[in-house]
Amino acid sequence: MRISTFFYCLKEGIKNIGRNIWFSLASAAIISACIFLFCLFFALTANVQYMVRMAESTVGITVFFDEGISEAEILAIGDSIRERSEVKEARYISAEEAWENFQKEYFKGMEELAEGFADDNPLADSASYEIYLKSIDDQAGMVEWLDTIPEIRKINYSSDTASGLSNFNRMLGLLSAVIIIILLAVAAFLISNTIMTAAAFRRDENKIMRLIGATGFMIRAPFVVEGIVIGFVGAAIPLISVYFLYRSAVAYMMEKFGILSNLMEFIPIQEIFPEMVAVAMMLGVGIGFVGSFFTIRRHLKV
Protein backbone atom coordinates (compact mmCIF):
# COMPACT_ATOMS: atom_id res chain seq x y z
CA MET A 1 0.00 0.00 0.00
CA ARG A 2 1.22 3.45 -0.91
CA ILE A 3 1.83 5.88 1.90
CA SER A 4 -0.58 8.33 0.23
CA THR A 5 -3.26 5.62 0.18
CA PHE A 6 -2.72 5.05 3.89
CA PHE A 7 -3.12 8.74 4.64
CA TYR A 8 -6.12 8.97 2.36
CA CYS A 9 -7.89 6.17 4.27
CA LEU A 10 -6.91 7.68 7.62
CA LYS A 11 -8.15 11.12 6.63
CA GLU A 12 -11.41 9.84 5.22
CA GLY A 13 -11.95 7.68 8.29
CA ILE A 14 -11.49 10.63 10.60
CA LYS A 15 -13.73 12.70 8.35
CA ASN A 16 -16.40 10.01 8.76
CA ILE A 17 -16.17 10.42 12.51
CA GLY A 18 -16.50 14.19 12.20
CA ARG A 19 -19.60 13.91 10.05
CA ASN A 20 -21.15 11.53 12.47
CA ILE A 21 -19.76 12.87 15.71
CA TRP A 22 -22.58 11.97 18.11
CA PHE A 23 -22.82 8.36 17.08
CA SER A 24 -19.06 8.11 17.16
CA LEU A 25 -18.87 9.67 20.61
CA ALA A 26 -21.55 7.32 21.91
CA SER A 27 -19.64 4.32 20.58
CA ALA A 28 -16.38 5.58 22.02
CA ALA A 29 -18.10 6.23 25.37
CA ILE A 30 -19.47 2.70 25.59
CA ILE A 31 -16.10 1.26 24.71
CA SER A 32 -14.55 3.56 27.30
CA ALA A 33 -16.97 2.35 29.95
CA CYS A 34 -16.27 -1.23 29.01
CA ILE A 35 -12.52 -0.81 29.09
CA PHE A 36 -12.65 1.28 32.24
CA LEU A 37 -14.43 -1.59 33.97
CA PHE A 38 -11.96 -3.99 32.51
CA CYS A 39 -9.03 -1.95 33.84
CA LEU A 40 -10.68 -1.75 37.24
CA PHE A 41 -11.21 -5.49 37.44
CA PHE A 42 -7.79 -6.06 36.04
CA ALA A 43 -6.17 -3.91 38.75
CA LEU A 44 -8.31 -5.47 41.45
CA THR A 45 -7.69 -9.07 40.51
CA ALA A 46 -4.01 -8.40 39.99
CA ASN A 47 -3.77 -6.95 43.47
CA VAL A 48 -5.80 -9.69 45.09
CA GLN A 49 -3.69 -12.24 43.31
CA TYR A 50 -0.65 -10.45 44.57
CA MET A 51 -1.95 -10.63 48.13
CA VAL A 52 -2.82 -14.28 47.71
CA ARG A 53 0.69 -14.97 46.56
CA MET A 54 2.04 -13.06 49.54
CA ALA A 55 -0.24 -15.06 51.78
CA GLU A 56 0.77 -18.31 50.16
CA SER A 57 4.39 -17.69 50.94
CA THR A 58 3.69 -16.89 54.58
CA VAL A 59 0.72 -19.05 55.46
CA GLY A 60 1.32 -22.72 55.77
CA ILE A 61 -0.09 -25.83 57.35
CA THR A 62 1.36 -27.02 60.62
CA VAL A 63 0.89 -30.61 61.70
CA PHE A 64 1.56 -32.07 65.15
CA PHE A 65 2.03 -35.73 65.93
CA ASP A 66 0.69 -38.21 68.48
CA GLU A 67 2.46 -38.37 71.83
CA GLY A 68 5.10 -41.00 72.22
CA ILE A 69 5.82 -41.35 68.54
CA SER A 70 9.49 -41.56 67.69
CA GLU A 71 11.39 -38.96 65.72
CA ALA A 72 12.21 -41.51 63.02
CA GLU A 73 8.52 -42.18 62.49
CA ILE A 74 7.83 -38.47 62.26
CA LEU A 75 10.57 -38.03 59.70
CA ALA A 76 9.12 -40.91 57.65
CA ILE A 77 5.76 -39.19 57.58
CA GLY A 78 7.56 -35.97 56.63
CA ASP A 79 9.08 -37.75 53.66
CA SER A 80 5.70 -38.89 52.43
CA ILE A 81 4.42 -35.34 52.84
CA ARG A 82 7.28 -34.04 50.75
CA GLU A 83 6.49 -36.52 48.02
CA ARG A 84 3.11 -34.90 47.43
CA SER A 85 3.16 -32.89 44.25
CA GLU A 86 1.34 -29.88 45.70
CA VAL A 87 3.93 -29.38 48.45
CA LYS A 88 6.48 -26.67 47.87
CA GLU A 89 8.34 -27.07 51.11
CA ALA A 90 7.97 -29.02 54.33
CA ARG A 91 10.11 -28.07 57.26
CA TYR A 92 10.66 -30.26 60.28
CA ILE A 93 10.69 -28.52 63.61
CA SER A 94 11.91 -30.71 66.40
CA ALA A 95 10.64 -30.36 69.92
CA GLU A 96 13.91 -28.70 70.95
CA GLU A 97 13.74 -26.21 68.17
CA ALA A 98 10.12 -25.44 69.01
CA TRP A 99 11.07 -24.81 72.60
CA GLU A 100 13.96 -22.59 71.64
CA ASN A 101 11.77 -20.58 69.35
CA PHE A 102 9.21 -20.29 72.07
CA GLN A 103 11.78 -19.10 74.57
CA LYS A 104 13.12 -16.54 72.17
CA GLU A 105 9.68 -15.14 71.58
CA TYR A 106 8.24 -15.17 75.09
CA PHE A 107 11.17 -14.75 77.36
CA LYS A 108 12.88 -12.05 75.39
CA GLY A 109 15.26 -10.20 77.72
CA MET A 110 14.38 -12.49 80.61
CA GLU A 111 16.20 -15.59 79.53
CA GLU A 112 16.90 -16.54 83.15
CA LEU A 113 13.19 -17.24 83.63
CA ALA A 114 13.37 -19.94 81.02
CA GLU A 115 16.30 -21.50 82.81
CA GLY A 116 13.77 -22.70 85.38
CA PHE A 117 12.56 -25.32 82.99
CA ALA A 118 16.12 -26.57 82.68
CA ASP A 119 16.21 -29.77 80.65
CA ASP A 120 12.57 -30.44 81.13
CA ASN A 121 11.23 -29.47 77.73
CA PRO A 122 7.58 -28.55 78.26
CA LEU A 123 7.01 -28.90 74.52
CA ALA A 124 8.42 -32.42 74.39
CA ASP A 125 5.65 -33.67 72.18
CA SER A 126 5.56 -30.62 69.96
CA ALA A 127 7.65 -31.82 67.07
CA SER A 128 5.94 -30.52 63.97
CA TYR A 129 6.07 -30.00 60.25
CA GLU A 130 5.45 -26.69 58.62
CA ILE A 131 4.13 -27.33 55.15
CA TYR A 132 4.05 -24.73 52.42
CA LEU A 133 2.02 -25.43 49.32
CA LYS A 134 2.64 -24.33 45.79
CA SER A 135 -0.86 -22.98 45.50
CA ILE A 136 -3.33 -22.08 48.16
CA ASP A 137 -6.02 -23.74 46.09
CA ASP A 138 -4.63 -27.15 47.07
CA GLN A 139 -4.95 -26.48 50.77
CA ALA A 140 -8.31 -28.14 51.34
CA GLY A 141 -7.27 -31.33 49.58
CA MET A 142 -3.98 -31.40 51.44
CA VAL A 143 -5.64 -31.01 54.81
CA GLU A 144 -8.02 -33.81 53.95
CA TRP A 145 -5.15 -36.07 53.07
CA LEU A 146 -3.22 -35.17 56.22
CA ASP A 147 -6.32 -36.04 58.22
CA THR A 148 -6.11 -39.63 57.01
CA ILE A 149 -2.69 -40.13 58.59
CA PRO A 150 -3.41 -41.69 62.01
CA GLU A 151 -0.20 -40.44 63.65
CA ILE A 152 -1.15 -36.83 63.06
CA ARG A 153 -2.76 -35.39 66.13
CA LYS A 154 -3.50 -31.89 65.02
CA ILE A 155 -3.53 -29.83 61.86
CA ASN A 156 -3.27 -26.05 62.08
CA TYR A 157 -4.14 -24.02 59.05
CA SER A 158 -5.85 -20.86 58.23
CA SER A 159 -8.85 -21.70 56.16
CA ASP A 160 -10.14 -18.24 55.35
CA THR A 161 -7.54 -15.70 54.41
CA ALA A 162 -5.73 -17.06 51.46
CA SER A 163 -8.25 -19.46 50.01
CA GLY A 164 -10.99 -16.94 50.66
CA LEU A 165 -9.09 -14.34 48.67
CA SER A 166 -8.48 -16.85 45.99
CA ASN A 167 -12.17 -17.68 45.74
CA PHE A 168 -13.03 -14.00 45.76
CA ASN A 169 -10.66 -13.49 42.88
CA ARG A 170 -12.24 -16.24 40.87
CA MET A 171 -15.70 -14.78 41.44
CA LEU A 172 -14.43 -11.34 40.52
CA GLY A 173 -12.89 -12.64 37.33
CA LEU A 174 -16.10 -14.39 36.35
CA LEU A 175 -18.26 -11.39 37.12
CA SER A 176 -15.98 -9.04 35.24
CA ALA A 177 -15.86 -11.36 32.25
CA VAL A 178 -19.66 -11.43 32.10
CA ILE A 179 -20.03 -7.66 32.40
CA ILE A 180 -17.27 -6.99 29.92
CA ILE A 181 -18.73 -9.40 27.38
CA ILE A 182 -22.13 -7.72 27.66
CA LEU A 183 -20.59 -4.28 27.27
CA LEU A 184 -18.50 -5.43 24.36
CA ALA A 185 -21.61 -6.69 22.65
CA VAL A 186 -23.28 -3.31 23.19
CA ALA A 187 -20.15 -1.59 21.90
CA ALA A 188 -20.03 -3.78 18.80
CA PHE A 189 -23.68 -3.03 18.15
CA LEU A 190 -23.12 0.72 18.49
CA ILE A 191 -20.05 0.68 16.27
CA SER A 192 -21.95 -1.29 13.71
CA ASN A 193 -24.70 1.35 13.74
CA THR A 194 -22.20 4.17 13.54
CA ILE A 195 -20.55 2.59 10.54
CA MET A 196 -23.87 1.97 8.85
CA THR A 197 -24.82 5.61 9.31
CA ALA A 198 -21.46 6.69 7.94
CA ALA A 199 -21.92 4.42 4.95
CA ALA A 200 -25.36 5.94 4.33
CA PHE A 201 -23.78 9.42 4.43
CA ARG A 202 -21.30 8.37 1.81
CA ARG A 203 -23.58 6.36 -0.41
CA ASP A 204 -23.19 8.71 -3.39
CA GLU A 205 -19.48 8.96 -2.92
CA ASN A 206 -19.12 5.20 -2.71
CA LYS A 207 -21.14 4.76 -5.85
CA ILE A 208 -18.92 7.20 -7.69
CA MET A 209 -15.84 5.50 -6.31
CA ARG A 210 -17.08 2.17 -7.60
CA LEU A 211 -17.67 3.55 -11.08
CA ILE A 212 -14.29 5.22 -11.16
CA GLY A 213 -12.69 1.86 -10.45
CA ALA A 214 -11.80 2.14 -6.80
CA THR A 215 -11.12 -1.27 -5.29
CA GLY A 216 -13.31 -2.67 -2.55
CA PHE A 217 -10.41 -2.06 -0.21
CA MET A 218 -10.30 1.66 -0.99
CA ILE A 219 -14.04 1.99 -0.56
CA ARG A 220 -14.21 0.06 2.69
CA ALA A 221 -10.95 1.00 4.36
CA PRO A 222 -12.09 4.44 5.60
CA PHE A 223 -14.95 2.81 7.49
CA VAL A 224 -12.69 0.26 9.10
CA VAL A 225 -10.29 3.06 9.98
CA GLU A 226 -13.24 4.87 11.54
CA GLY A 227 -14.03 1.83 13.68
CA ILE A 228 -10.42 1.40 14.71
CA VAL A 229 -10.01 5.07 15.63
CA ILE A 230 -13.19 4.97 17.72
CA GLY A 231 -11.91 1.83 19.44
CA PHE A 232 -8.51 3.39 20.00
CA VAL A 233 -9.96 6.54 21.56
CA GLY A 234 -12.36 4.39 23.55
CA ALA A 235 -9.38 2.52 25.01
CA ALA A 236 -7.04 5.48 25.49
CA ILE A 237 -9.44 7.53 27.61
CA PRO A 238 -10.00 4.93 30.36
CA LEU A 239 -6.34 3.91 30.30
CA ILE A 240 -5.20 7.43 31.01
CA SER A 241 -7.79 7.95 33.72
CA VAL A 242 -7.09 4.58 35.34
CA TYR A 243 -3.39 5.36 35.41
CA PHE A 244 -3.89 8.48 37.50
CA LEU A 245 -6.81 7.10 39.46
CA TYR A 246 -4.86 4.04 40.49
CA ARG A 247 -1.88 6.05 41.63
CA SER A 248 -3.92 8.38 43.78
CA ALA A 249 -6.06 5.52 45.12
CA VAL A 250 -2.96 3.64 46.28
CA ALA A 251 -1.49 6.80 47.78
CA TYR A 252 -4.76 7.45 49.59
CA MET A 253 -4.99 3.91 50.98
CA MET A 254 -1.40 4.00 52.11
CA GLU A 255 -1.94 7.27 53.92
CA LYS A 256 -5.26 6.28 55.43
CA PHE A 257 -4.34 2.74 56.46
CA GLY A 258 -0.62 3.21 56.73
CA ILE A 259 -0.42 1.06 59.84
CA LEU A 260 -1.76 -1.88 57.94
CA SER A 261 0.56 -1.28 55.07
CA ASN A 262 2.52 -4.43 55.77
CA LEU A 263 -0.73 -6.37 55.37
CA MET A 264 -1.97 -4.43 52.41
CA GLU A 265 0.55 -4.28 49.70
CA PHE A 266 -0.33 -2.89 46.29
CA ILE A 267 1.34 -3.50 43.02
CA PRO A 268 2.88 -0.29 41.70
CA ILE A 269 1.01 0.93 38.61
CA GLN A 270 4.12 0.74 36.43
CA GLU A 271 4.16 -3.00 36.95
CA ILE A 272 0.68 -3.78 35.74
CA PHE A 273 0.20 -0.91 33.31
CA PRO A 274 1.99 -2.33 30.26
CA GLU A 275 -0.09 -5.48 30.34
CA MET A 276 -3.22 -3.45 30.99
CA VAL A 277 -2.49 -1.20 28.01
CA ALA A 278 -1.84 -4.17 25.76
CA VAL A 279 -5.07 -5.96 26.63
CA ALA A 280 -7.20 -2.79 26.69
CA MET A 281 -5.88 -1.67 23.31
CA MET A 282 -6.49 -5.11 21.90
CA LEU A 283 -10.05 -4.98 23.23
CA GLY A 284 -10.75 -1.45 22.00
CA VAL A 285 -9.07 -1.60 18.63
CA GLY A 286 -10.26 -5.18 18.20
CA ILE A 287 -13.90 -4.39 18.80
CA GLY A 288 -13.60 -1.32 16.56
CA PHE A 289 -12.09 -3.38 13.81
CA VAL A 290 -14.45 -6.32 14.09
CA GLY A 291 -17.54 -4.14 14.45
CA SER A 292 -16.73 -2.04 11.41
CA PHE A 293 -15.19 -4.73 9.24
CA PHE A 294 -18.13 -7.10 9.35
CA THR A 295 -20.72 -4.34 9.12
CA ILE A 296 -19.13 -2.85 6.05
CA ARG A 297 -18.63 -6.23 4.48
CA ARG A 298 -22.30 -7.02 4.87
CA HIS A 299 -23.80 -3.64 4.10
CA LEU A 300 -21.47 -2.05 1.59
CA LYS A 301 -21.41 -4.10 -1.56
CA VAL A 302 -18.56 -3.27 -3.84
Partner: protein
Protein backbone atom coordinates in the same frame (compact mmCIF):
# COMPACT_ATOMS: atom_id res chain seq x y z
CA UNK B 1 -13.08 -2.50 -29.82
CA UNK B 2 -16.46 -3.26 -28.34
CA UNK B 3 -18.30 -6.34 -29.57
CA UNK B 4 -21.80 -6.96 -28.31
CA UNK B 5 -23.30 -10.26 -29.44
CA UNK B 6 -26.88 -11.51 -28.96
CA UNK B 7 -27.18 -9.51 -25.80
CA UNK B 8 -30.31 -9.96 -23.69
CA UNK B 9 -31.15 -8.34 -20.41
CA UNK B 10 -34.22 -9.31 -18.43
CA UNK B 11 -34.63 -7.54 -15.09
CA UNK B 12 -35.89 -9.44 -12.09
CA UNK B 13 -39.25 -7.71 -12.38
CA UNK B 14 -39.59 -9.35 -15.80
CA UNK B 15 -38.83 -6.31 -17.94
CA UNK B 16 -36.97 -7.24 -21.09
CA UNK B 17 -34.72 -4.21 -21.32
CA UNK B 18 -32.54 -5.48 -24.20
CA UNK B 19 -33.44 -8.04 -26.82
CA UNK B 20 -30.85 -9.73 -29.03
CA UNK B 21 -28.67 -6.66 -29.33
CA UNK B 22 -25.68 -6.86 -31.70
CA UNK B 23 -23.37 -3.86 -31.88
CA UNK B 24 -19.73 -3.45 -32.87
CA UNK B 25 -17.87 -0.25 -32.09
CA UNK B 26 -14.34 0.30 -33.38
CA UNK B 27 -11.53 1.97 -31.46
CA UNK B 28 -11.67 5.74 -31.72
CA UNK B 29 -15.27 5.88 -32.90
CA UNK B 30 -17.81 8.50 -31.81
CA UNK B 31 -21.23 6.86 -31.46
CA UNK B 32 -24.63 8.13 -30.39
CA UNK B 33 -27.16 5.83 -28.78
CA UNK B 34 -30.65 7.17 -29.26
CA UNK B 35 -34.09 6.02 -28.21
CA UNK B 36 -37.02 7.12 -26.18
CA UNK B 37 -37.19 6.77 -22.46
CA UNK B 38 -37.24 3.15 -21.34
CA UNK B 39 -35.75 1.78 -24.54
CA UNK B 40 -32.77 0.28 -22.73
CA UNK B 41 -30.03 2.86 -23.32
CA UNK B 42 -28.94 3.14 -19.70
CA UNK B 43 -29.14 -0.62 -19.32
CA UNK B 44 -26.66 -0.93 -22.17
CA UNK B 45 -24.34 1.55 -20.43
CA UNK B 46 -24.61 -0.33 -17.16
CA UNK B 47 -23.76 -3.58 -18.89
CA UNK B 48 -20.69 -1.98 -20.45
CA UNK B 49 -19.63 -0.74 -17.01
CA UNK B 50 -20.28 -4.17 -15.55
CA UNK B 51 -22.68 -2.64 -13.07
CA UNK B 52 -25.17 -5.32 -13.98
CA UNK B 53 -24.93 -8.72 -15.63
CA UNK B 54 -26.52 -9.71 -18.94
CA UNK B 55 -29.11 -12.47 -18.97
CA UNK B 56 -27.47 -13.93 -22.06
CA UNK B 57 -25.07 -12.93 -24.81
CA UNK B 58 -21.55 -11.60 -24.80
CA UNK B 59 -19.82 -8.28 -24.33
CA UNK B 60 -16.18 -8.06 -25.31
CA UNK B 61 -14.37 -4.81 -24.60
CA UNK B 62 -10.79 -4.52 -25.84
CA UNK B 63 -10.47 -8.31 -25.88
CA UNK B 64 -11.85 -8.69 -22.37
CA UNK B 65 -14.95 -10.84 -22.07
CA UNK B 66 -17.06 -9.03 -19.49
CA UNK B 67 -19.28 -12.04 -18.87
CA UNK B 68 -16.29 -14.06 -17.78
CA UNK B 69 -14.44 -11.36 -15.90
CA UNK B 70 -13.71 -12.26 -12.27
CA UNK B 71 -15.18 -9.83 -9.75
CA UNK B 72 -11.86 -8.77 -8.40
CA UNK B 73 -10.81 -7.58 -11.86
CA UNK B 74 -13.80 -5.25 -12.22
CA UNK B 75 -12.19 -2.18 -10.55
CA UNK B 76 -9.18 -2.50 -12.85
CA UNK B 77 -11.45 -2.81 -15.84
CA UNK B 78 -13.45 0.26 -14.88
CA UNK B 79 -10.29 2.34 -14.70
CA UNK B 80 -10.04 1.88 -18.45
CA UNK B 81 -13.45 3.54 -18.88
CA UNK B 82 -14.64 7.04 -18.13
CA UNK B 83 -18.26 7.71 -17.19
CA UNK B 84 -20.41 10.82 -17.29
CA UNK B 85 -24.02 11.06 -16.16
CA UNK B 86 -26.96 13.36 -16.71
CA UNK B 87 -26.92 14.48 -13.09
CA UNK B 88 -23.15 15.12 -13.02
CA UNK B 89 -22.66 13.17 -9.75
CA UNK B 90 -20.05 15.49 -8.33
CA UNK B 91 -19.16 15.44 -4.64
CA UNK B 92 -20.81 18.53 -3.20
CA UNK B 93 -18.38 18.98 -0.32
CA UNK B 94 -15.32 18.90 -2.56
CA UNK B 95 -13.94 21.62 -4.79
CA UNK B 96 -13.58 21.28 -8.55
CA UNK B 97 -9.94 20.39 -8.13
CA UNK B 98 -10.68 17.82 -5.41
CA UNK B 99 -13.48 16.26 -7.44
CA UNK B 100 -11.12 15.58 -10.31
CA UNK B 101 -8.23 14.59 -8.05
CA UNK B 102 -10.58 12.21 -6.22
CA UNK B 103 -10.75 9.96 -9.28
CA UNK B 104 -7.00 9.52 -9.11
CA UNK B 105 -6.71 9.31 -5.37
CA UNK B 106 -9.16 6.45 -5.01
CA UNK B 107 -7.14 4.33 -7.38
CA UNK B 108 -3.92 5.09 -5.54
CA UNK B 109 -2.17 7.45 -7.95
CA UNK B 110 0.76 9.23 -6.23
CA UNK B 111 0.09 12.82 -5.18
CA UNK B 112 2.78 14.22 -7.43
CA UNK B 113 1.20 12.71 -10.54
CA UNK B 114 -2.20 13.98 -9.44
CA UNK B 115 -0.82 17.51 -9.15
CA UNK B 116 0.29 17.32 -12.74
CA UNK B 117 -2.76 15.63 -14.21
CA UNK B 118 -5.60 17.55 -12.61
CA UNK B 119 -4.65 21.06 -13.85
CA UNK B 120 -4.09 19.60 -17.30
CA UNK B 121 -7.58 18.10 -17.34
CA UNK B 122 -9.14 21.31 -16.05
CA UNK B 123 -7.38 23.17 -18.85
CA UNK B 124 -8.75 20.70 -21.36
CA UNK B 125 -12.35 21.31 -20.24
CA UNK B 126 -11.74 25.05 -19.87
CA UNK B 127 -12.21 25.33 -16.11
CA UNK B 128 -8.72 26.22 -14.93
CA UNK B 129 -9.90 29.42 -13.29
CA UNK B 130 -12.62 27.70 -11.26
CA UNK B 131 -10.54 24.99 -9.63
CA UNK B 132 -11.35 26.29 -6.15
CA UNK B 133 -15.13 26.52 -6.66
CA UNK B 134 -17.64 24.11 -5.23
CA UNK B 135 -20.16 22.37 -7.51
CA UNK B 136 -23.09 24.50 -6.30
CA UNK B 137 -21.19 27.62 -7.40
CA UNK B 138 -21.06 26.38 -10.99
CA UNK B 139 -23.57 26.34 -13.83
CA UNK B 140 -24.88 23.02 -15.11
CA UNK B 141 -22.58 23.14 -18.12
CA UNK B 142 -19.58 23.83 -15.91
CA UNK B 143 -20.50 21.00 -13.56
CA UNK B 144 -20.72 18.63 -16.47
CA UNK B 145 -17.31 19.76 -17.65
CA UNK B 146 -15.91 18.95 -14.22
CA UNK B 147 -17.52 15.52 -14.48
CA UNK B 148 -15.89 15.05 -17.90
CA UNK B 149 -12.51 16.11 -16.51
CA UNK B 150 -12.96 13.55 -13.75
CA UNK B 151 -13.88 10.86 -16.28
CA UNK B 152 -10.81 11.64 -18.38
CA UNK B 153 -8.15 12.14 -15.76
CA UNK B 154 -7.34 8.44 -15.61
CA UNK B 155 -6.83 8.38 -19.41
CA UNK B 156 -9.63 5.95 -20.25
CA UNK B 157 -9.79 4.11 -23.56
CA UNK B 158 -13.55 4.57 -23.74
CA UNK B 159 -15.78 7.38 -22.50
CA UNK B 160 -19.38 6.49 -21.71
CA UNK B 161 -21.79 9.43 -21.38
CA UNK B 162 -25.39 8.70 -20.39
CA UNK B 163 -27.44 11.73 -21.44
CA UNK B 164 -24.66 14.19 -20.55
CA UNK B 165 -26.68 17.11 -21.87
CA UNK B 166 -30.03 16.03 -20.48
CA UNK B 167 -30.01 18.79 -17.87
CA UNK B 168 -28.45 21.48 -20.06
CA UNK B 169 -29.78 24.13 -22.41
CA UNK B 170 -29.02 24.06 -26.14
CA UNK B 171 -25.99 26.31 -25.93
CA UNK B 172 -24.34 24.38 -23.09
CA UNK B 173 -25.25 21.11 -24.76
CA UNK B 174 -23.38 22.04 -27.92
CA UNK B 175 -20.37 23.11 -25.86
CA UNK B 176 -20.29 19.76 -24.12
CA UNK B 177 -20.61 18.00 -27.47
CA UNK B 178 -17.72 20.06 -28.78
CA UNK B 179 -15.68 18.98 -25.80
CA UNK B 180 -16.57 15.33 -26.35
CA UNK B 181 -15.47 15.65 -29.97
CA UNK B 182 -12.20 17.14 -28.84
CA UNK B 183 -11.70 14.15 -26.55
CA UNK B 184 -12.57 11.81 -29.39
CA UNK B 185 -9.95 13.53 -31.53
CA UNK B 186 -7.36 12.57 -28.93
CA UNK B 187 -8.15 8.95 -29.67
CA UNK B 188 -10.69 8.06 -27.00
CA UNK B 189 -13.72 6.05 -28.10
CA UNK B 190 -16.79 8.07 -27.14
CA UNK B 191 -20.29 6.63 -26.66
CA UNK B 192 -22.99 9.19 -25.98
CA UNK B 193 -26.57 8.42 -25.04
CA UNK B 194 -28.94 11.20 -25.95
CA UNK B 195 -32.55 12.10 -26.51
CA UNK B 196 -31.86 15.03 -28.72
CA UNK B 197 -32.49 14.67 -32.46
CA UNK B 198 -31.07 18.16 -32.87
CA UNK B 199 -27.69 17.28 -31.40
CA UNK B 200 -27.48 14.08 -33.37
CA UNK B 201 -28.20 15.75 -36.68
CA UNK B 202 -25.77 18.58 -36.01
CA UNK B 203 -22.94 16.20 -35.17
CA UNK B 204 -23.29 13.94 -38.20
CA UNK B 205 -21.93 10.82 -36.48
CA UNK B 206 -22.93 7.19 -36.29
CA UNK B 207 -26.27 6.76 -34.51
CA UNK B 208 -27.57 3.54 -33.02
CA UNK B 209 -31.29 3.74 -32.33
CA UNK B 210 -32.86 1.54 -29.68
CA UNK B 211 -36.57 0.92 -29.39
CA UNK B 212 -38.00 -1.18 -26.56
CA UNK B 213 -34.73 -3.05 -26.24
CA UNK B 214 -34.22 -3.71 -29.93
CA UNK B 215 -31.64 -2.09 -32.21
CA UNK B 216 -33.99 -0.36 -34.61
CA UNK B 217 -31.41 1.34 -36.75
CA UNK B 218 -27.62 1.48 -36.92
CA UNK B 219 -27.07 3.10 -40.25
CA UNK B 220 -26.31 6.74 -40.04
CA UNK B 221 -27.95 9.73 -38.53
CA UNK B 222 -30.94 8.24 -36.76
CA UNK B 223 -33.16 10.17 -39.11
CA UNK B 224 -36.09 7.83 -38.92
CA UNK B 225 -36.43 8.43 -35.24
CA UNK B 226 -38.65 11.16 -33.98
CA UNK B 227 -38.07 12.21 -30.42
CA UNK B 228 -41.01 11.22 -28.24
Amino acid sequence: MIEITDLNKVYKAGTRALKNVNITIEDGEFVFIMGRSGSGKSTLMKLLLKETEPTSGRIIVNDMDLTRMPRRYVPKYRRRLGVVFQDFRLLKDKTVYENVAFAQRVIGVPIRTIRENVPEMLRLVGLSSKYKSYPNELSGGEQQRVAIARALVNSPEILLADEPTGNLDAHNSMEIMGLLEKINDRGTTVIVVTHSQEIVSQMGRRVITLDRGIVLDDSGEGGIYDEN
